[in-house]
Amino acid sequence: MMRCERVEELSSDYVDGRLAARPAGEVEAHLRTCSDCRSLVGDIQQIKALLARTAPPTAEPEFWNRALARARAAAPAARQRLNLQALLQWQRGAAWATATASLAVGVLFPVRFQEWQRAGAKNTQHVIGWHAGYCSRQPLADQGQMQMLAMHAHLASEE
């Protein structure tokens, strides 16, 4: 059986018909036995219905003529303001994008770059080792390969 506190929490969703069948059924079962919760739900339903139906006093016709005339007269300035707002919004978006990109480049990239450097050094050693092994098995056909070997030797000595 649902407790009063839970019914109170769900009362708005129940009145708006936003509860799934099972919790709605549990609320209804509770309402059949609890007059306090029935009064709560009844009041919310009445307030909601009053707000939807009750029309407050309306404005006199002159207000509408005046308001529409002002809207027409103020439209160019308002359009400029809307365009400016759109531009500012775009600039703000662009500034955020730039800031995010700068953060990525300034903070994340150096960190990643160090990782890449470390990984790259291992790969270079591996490739040099493989290439040196390969070249040593091949006849030294040209000057280029000799230079490569010399460079490998130099790089290997630096490592």
Partner: protein, 185 residues
């Protein structure tokens, strides 16, 4: 043509638009200021309105932004009694034009009796709670539409609506029961 279409739509939906502005502000002067500002913005942006969609909800979205900006800039709107006459442009004092609610006399009487306590209870709410109530209960927007208009999550609208109704019930409950009990008696 756009100007004529805009004017026609405003005139066609004027009661609903005014109701939204009045419920948000609680008095005619601020309601008219708010509505005027929203209509200027709406007219300027009318090129973006999709014909055939809900015009009042589109203007209410604009009015919502205006209302939020205003409540951030200015102190809360003042409450005005319905019994109080308001000055006209000519300096005379006149009563309010009460629209034809087209209800049976008994329901009309109940609504007339509750109109003032209803507006007072609404005006006593914090602005963001009042906005949730006006968008959902007065204008009939779904939680999702109201959330889009108020630019907040749907859960925020749901929670504000729930708390606002609880607060309204505390304020309005006695008047509500008194009127209905009198009706039954």
């Amino acid at each position: 043509v756009a100007a004529e279409a805009f004017e026609a739509l405003v005139r066609q939906n004027r009661d609903q638009l005014y109701r939204g502005a009045y419920r948000l502000t609680g008095n005619h002067e601020d309601a008219q200021d708010l509505l005027q500002e929203a209509l200027v913005e709406a007219y300027a942006a009318f090129g973006r309105f999709q014909m055939g969609t809900h015009f009042t909800r589109w203007v209410m979205r604009i009015m919502t932004r205006t209302f939020i900006d205003r409540t951030r800039r200015r102190p809360p709107f003042a409450v005005q009694s319905l019994d109080e006459a308001r000055p006209t442009a000519e300096g005379e004092r006149s009563g309010f034009d009460v629209p034809d609610t087209r209800l049976d006399p008994e329901a009309e009487m109940v609504q007339e009796m509750l109109e003032e306590p209803l507006q007072e209870a609404l005006t006593a709410l914090p602005a963001e709670f009042r906005l949730a109530i006006v968008l959902c209960d007065v204008q009939g927007m779904s939680y999702e539409e109201a959330a889009r208009a108020a630019r907040c999550p749907v859960g925020t609208i749901r929670s504000r609506l729930h708390r606002a109704r609880a607060m309204m019930r505390r304020t309005l409950g006695p008047s509500l029961r008194a009127v209905y009990e009198r009706g039954e008696g």
